[in-house]
Symmetry: C2
Subunit: 341 residues, 2 copies
């Protein structure tokens, strides 16, 4: 070890006071407990001299509250998750909570391991963007009433807090706008269709086309496995262009697919800087607009997701601290539509 640092006891001994007294003044209860002004001064003084840092582990062990929340994401570097993480950290900090963060790499056993670890580290609650439909440790958390909120993805049949976006509505709006602009052969490019989220986006697409009396051509549907999607998307697009040569628009169920498609179009000499081909995407990235000036975008509300997520989590923590029965919540945060004519 390097320097272990001074403890309450050190200060108490040095000042010939009890640990109790020192603890009280250092935790701001000096006046409340009626500690004399002078004693308080001496304590504060001494704490500074010894450069006292309270041991929050000891406090947490005692109080059962760690003032820490655990965040588990498929990846920290993905720009969507990174932005949400940033918001969560900001909101948590405002309420006096720190953040432990871990990525699951979309591997279920990693996710499970991280959940167990965070439980053992006694985080007060967790925010998780889950990897798979339902799962052992998440179910265990829920059963034990461990404060928990899911986002991005969730399990319709599990009664757990979750904050999601208005998947169906936003994709409906995007597709409707493409239709309004005159596009008729609109391809849907999506991934991991077992995800509830992706399904909802697909429903939005299908329903909107049906409502508009447009045939939903299965040949215009492309499903790109998440693993190796950068390669797989090329095959998918090739196939669509082959089977439906007059495809006139593309709707990407998530921005990472759009990015790869841009590259594909570029390589194929398909110009997307003009308004020719119709484009729409759920979420975007830096420079999206410059590459595809006419793309319609439903921006994920990262701020709203981060904020709701923390609010809901703290709501559960506080309710349970107060011994109340807690009813899990669903929060739907609308996307910000960015449509171009």
């Amino acid at each position: 070890m390097f320097q272990m640092g001074a403890s309450l006891k050190d200060i108490a001994e040095r000042l010939n006071l009890s640990k109790t007294t020192v603890s009280w003044v250092l935790s701001g209860q000096g006046d409340a407990k009626g500690i004399s002004e002078m004693t308080q001064q001496r304590v504060i003084q001494c704490a500074q001299e010894l450069s006292y840092h309270p041991n929050l582990l000891a406090r947490s062990l005692n109080t059962g509250v760690s003032k820490t929340i655990g965040l588990i994401l498929p990846s920290i570097s993905d720009s969507f998750y990174a932005h949400v993480a940033n918001e969560i950290e900001y909101e948590a900090k405002k309420e006096g909570y720190s953040l432990m963060i871990a990525s699951s790499n979309a591997e279920i056993e990693r996710e499970n391991a991280m959940i167990r670890l965070f439980r053992s580290k006694k985080v007060d609650g967790m925010v998780i963007a889950p990897t798979k439909i339902s799962d052992r440790e998440i179910v265990a958390l829920a059963n034990d009433r461990y404060p928990l909120v899911l986002f991005d993805r969730y399990f319709p049949d599990l009664n757990i807090n979750h904050v999601i976006i208005d998947n169906e509505k936003s994709s409906s709006m995007l597709v409707r706008h493409l239709v309004e602009k005159g596009y008729r052969k609109i391809a849907l490019i999506t991934t991991n269709p077992h995800l509830f989220t992706m399904n909802k986006r697909r429903e939005g697409y299908v329903n909107t086309l049906s409502d508009a009396g447009i045939h939903v051509d299965p040949n215009l549907y492309g499903e790109v496995p998440y693993i190796n999607y950068k390669e797989n998307i090329k095959t998918t697009l090739d196939r669509i262009f082959e089977t439906v040569p007059d495809v006139d628009a593309f709707f990407f169920a998530t921005h990472i697919l759009a990015i790869e498609a841009f590259q594909y179009f570029h390589d194929k000499g398909i110009d997307i800087s003009k308004g020719g081909i119709g484009l729409a995407s759920m979420h975007s990235e830096t420079l999206f607009r410059m590459v595809a000036p006419y793309i319609d975008i439903a921006h994920f509300p990262v701020k709203g997701i981060g904020k709701s997520t923390v609010q809901v989590l703290l709501g559960q923590i506080k309710a349970q601290e107060a011994g109340q029965e807690y009813v899990p919540q669903e929060v739907v945060v609308p996307c910000l539509l960015d449509l171009v004519d």
Copy 2:
């Protein structure tokens, strides 16, 4: 509180064993301590039934080791920092460490507060991308021999671990390549010049031009204050085009400036998709290449930075655990050059 969960004591009582015995088998020392096979089975069995989660706070309090490292970044959502964070988390996890993360928003008092908090939370060490030249709490950490490594920016006069990139060399290479391609009026766009990092990049630029016998025109130098850089860069570029109308190339000391410049060029009708104007940038982002196919890039080695950073940190932790004197290290990770002819 929700469920407090079972403790060693609960298991011990239930099995009529001592906490010692239970602790030993659950921490894998069963065989070493010669606990009978049967007892071990019973303990493990019971732990499962009670769904025992060891309280790592208690362990840490006892052992003085939290197996946690603290990471402080200007921003979690910035793509460079997010990628480094991802690597750090990965490397740390491999070694059994968890990550606490906080953003300083490039505000010095936030940074200080987070350092104090992490000290109190007893992280075993910290990785910081500091905000300002030198600083109270960082100096305090160094004085107390607290395991610490700085990255991205650092203080030449403080003897602290740091991992940085080959700023001067990489910018030299970029500028030299522009010169080789025939550009002569190369503007340098930089920010926060008080940063050691930015200075080095500027030196690379200046030296390379001088060596090539090219006049270093102060009018070609643009310094964009970090605060509100998205607005400020426009003024800067306007000024350069005014004073040096035949400027033929731009070297951006960091990618975020390049991104804004792309927008500026686009708005001004300056086409960068052809090879006309010379471009170079330290680091890049998604879609960079599509927007500016001919830009020369020195990619920041996020993997290398993440890896070195935890290696060095763990090196210090282990050395000090072993009671050895530790000498702070400097690690320079080279950028990956991506030059286009």
